[in-house]
Amino acid sequence: MKRLRVLFRGVGGQGTLLASRLLGEAAMEQDIPVRMSEVHGMAQRGGVVESAVLLGGLESPLVAEGQADVLVSFEPLETLRALPKCSRRTTIVTNTRPILPYTVKSGQAAYPDVEACLDFLRRNYRACHAYDAEAEAEAIGSPKVVNVLLLGTLLGTGLVPLEPGHLRETIRALVKPRFVELNLAALDRGLALADGREAPA
């Protein structure tokens, strides 16, 4: 397959690591060469969390400036912060629901206007799949499935050569039994929320 760099961004506690892990495991099951990186430790305490999944035979576990083929972001401000790692040919999958950082809550800084930002993303990038993942997750029955919703949408873009069936098996194998059905529902909903499939980059 073509080499593909998928960058995940979110806020500590949103489940970005599990999302990237599921993608990586499913890729390995399908014999796609995979390498990943995660950040643990202090950053997870409410700070920005980044992980990366590199498919198709890349050795580096990192996505550098301008290198992301796909950005999957769990929070709109963090989508913007990740843009230096993207280029015009990047496809963006993003949650539109803000998580206000302390700097905003305390009045030291202003949160960017989300609609204006989405407009910027739609005008300047290859594609932008954006929705309120928290509202969708609540509709499914748990705010915790934001991560698998967005993962479903990543698959829905058609850019990752993964069978949804493989991902379903991975979810069954890795997620706690009582949360499996919720996560499978989130995967399906996420797939449907992709704003149309794209030809492989």
């Binding site: 301008g66 843009l83 950082p101």
Partner: protein
């Protein structure tokens, strides 16, 4: 069953570098392991602990009180002929360095592996020291994996090398290799292993007094030369491709180089020496690289460790091949590297000019608000800091108070809204530096230290403060776990994993035994009582200790969830 044992040999698991190290240790038949947790090494200790809880693994593991003790436990197991491992973060090796430099003299009988996990770019650390220098300092062999597969294979190999040389072997990772995930093909775990050793007393070997240590130093230098032969022949050092540009790289940087060569289609232009057995330097391989190329680029994060070793070989061999790297300004000694930066430097040397990625004009975007990490919602440290601050303000002391800080979640108190961290060096430094501030200034001194950190490095400095009549208030933030690194137990912790049956050493008894008379225990959520206790401590005119007791809510919830499931 632990996930590292979930598949048969030959199958693959998608493992983090740290997890792969644990699997490698199991495949090598490790019998005793010890650690003090620290990012990015913590997952090694967590998994070894979990594995030791399963009887079938016949593995003894302990969370030791600090890295020095952890290394001593593993060293003695090695002296008794068992295979042992200890792991720590880079600055943890500073704490254990007193052991390390003499352990190199006495050596080991059973294979002994010392894992140091470095943190270039300081994702979770106070400095980015390069622990490869410890290998050179102590004269111990060192391996550095670049992938999870190598992390497993090198760990297993390190035990063999250790036994062949009778020296401990350093396995050095960085954050990127510790937290990199990739497929790992499993090897077999031996059905039989030694779990009981026997120590053979021999003072000429094990007691480094001047007479014997002089001899042992000579033996160490002989053994490390034999290590050089192993490095020359090691499959972890290999040359890929042939071309006029030589590149030498190790660690995560080797991955970036490999991708860059492929991306630039430069397989026929580059001779790439990938180093995995990184100390002592494989001189013959270095010489081959220098002799067969027109110039050599060294790509390594942090210090010019291999670059200087290569320059030495060039001088010895009389080769004038230009050596490029940090000395020539091609790379920096700061931070971790980015794959894009490594590609750019190699492209430039090859005379390529790859088009930069097309970026839109970001000027229409607003300035982005920062999202610094913060104490978790509901963290009891909030309440403690608030109560201490209220007491200081009501006493009119807030303006002239210095807050020596320590290592843990509560270091985040440096950030708004708390801003009660003023000076920090290392584990335990809050107490020793409070002593210094109290003799050097007329300011009020209030220090904060966590429970695990207090046990790790706080006790001798507290005794020092009592003995030398230093005057300050020490606040011990007792949340009953080592929270920052992922909730490991410590000697005073009562919030422990299911089945954890080690003895509890109450902090208050330790503090009183150190000789402190003014000791207050508070529940930080009982605000009025807490503020009153702080006021009493702050105005006592003597050394005082306030122990703020409230469990880490995150961990308490996690343990409760585990009990239900």
């Amino acid at each position: 069953m632990h996930f590292l044992l979930g598949k048969p040999p030959g199958d693959r698991l998608l493992l983090m570098g740290n997890e792969a190290i644990c699997r490698g240790a199991l495949e090598a038949g490790v019998a005793v392991a010890s650690a003090y947790p620290g990012t990015p090494s913590s997952e090694i200790s967590n998994n070894l602990f979990a594995l030791s809880q399963e009887a079938g693994n016949r593995l003894y593991f302990e969370f030791s009180v600090n890295e020095k003790v952890a290394m001593e436990v593993a060293a003695a197991a090695g002296a008794a002929g068992l295979r042992s491992l200890t792991c720590m973060k880079h600055v943890g090796l500073n704490v254990a360095s007193d052991v390390l430099l003499t352990l190199a003299y006495v050596g080991t009988e059973g294979g002994m592996v010392i894992v140091t996990a470095d943190d270039p770019a300081m994702h979770s650390s106070q400095n980015e020291q390069d622990n490869r220098l410890y290998a050179r300092f102590a004269n111990l062999p060192m391996l550095e994996p670049t992938t999870p597969q190598e992390a497993k294979d090198m760990t297993a190999a390190a035990f063999e090398i250790s036994e062949a040389l009778k020296l401990p072997v350093i396995l050095r990772t960085t954050t990127r290799t510790s937290h990199m995930r990739g497929p790992v093909t499993l090897g077999p775990i031996p059905a039989e292993k030694r779990t009981r050793g026997a120590f053979q007393a021999d003072y000429m070997r094990w007691i480094p007094v001047p007479l014997t240590a002089k001899i042992r130093h000579g033996i160490l230098l002989e053994q490390i030369e034999k290590g050089r032969d192993l490095a020359e022949a090691s499959p972890f050092n290999r040359i890929e491709g042939t071309g006029p540009l030589g590149i030498l790289a190790s660690g995560a940087a080797a991955c970036y180089v490999a991708d860059a060569i492929r991306e630039l289609g430069a397989e026929d232009e580059v001779t790439f020496l990938r180093l995995g057995f990184t100390f002592p330097p494989a001189r013959n391989l270095f010489r081959r690289l220098l002799a067969g190329t027109e110039r050599v680029l060294v790509v390594e994060e942090l210090e010019p460790f291999q670059e200087e070793a290569l320059r030495l070989v060039a001088q010895e061999a009389g080769l004038a091949t230009p050596i490029l790297g940090k000395g020539t300004g091609h790379f920096t000694r700061l931070n971790e590297y980015s794959p894009a930066e490594v590609t750019r430097v190699i492209a430039e040397l090859l005379g390529r000019d790859p088009a930069p990625p097309e970026q839109p004009d970001f000027s229409e975007l607003p300035e982005l608000p920062l999202r610094p990490p913060s104490l978790c919602p509901g963290c009891p440290h909030h309440a403690t800091f608030t109560a201490a601050r209220t007491a200081l303000e009501e006493l009119g002391l807030a303006e002239r108070t210095i807050y020596p800080a320590d290592i843990g979640c509560y270091t985040l108190a440096v950030l708004p809204p708390i801003q009660m961290s003023d000076y920090l060096l290392c584990m335990g430094s809050s107490i020793g530096t409070s002593a210094g501030f109290s003799v050097a200034t007329d300011q009020n001194v209030v220090a904060f230290i966590g429970d695990s950190t207090f046990f790790h490095a706080g006790i001798p400095s507290l005794i020092n403060a009592v003995h030398n009549r230093h005057r300050f208030c020490l606040v011990i933030l007792d949340n009953s776990t080592t929270a920052m690194t992922g909730h490991q137990p410590h000697p005073g912790a009562t919030l422990t994993p299911p089945g954890y049956d080690r003895a509890v050493v109450p902090i208050e008894r330790v503090v009183r035994a150190c000789g402190v008379d003014m000791v207050k225990r508070i529940d930080p959520y009982r605000t009025e009582e807490a503020v009153a206790a702080f006021k009493e401590a702050f105005t006592s005119g003597a050394l005082s200790v306030v122990i703020a007791e409230a469990p880490c809510l995150l961990y308490k919830k996690k343990l409760a969830g585990r009990a239900k499931a």
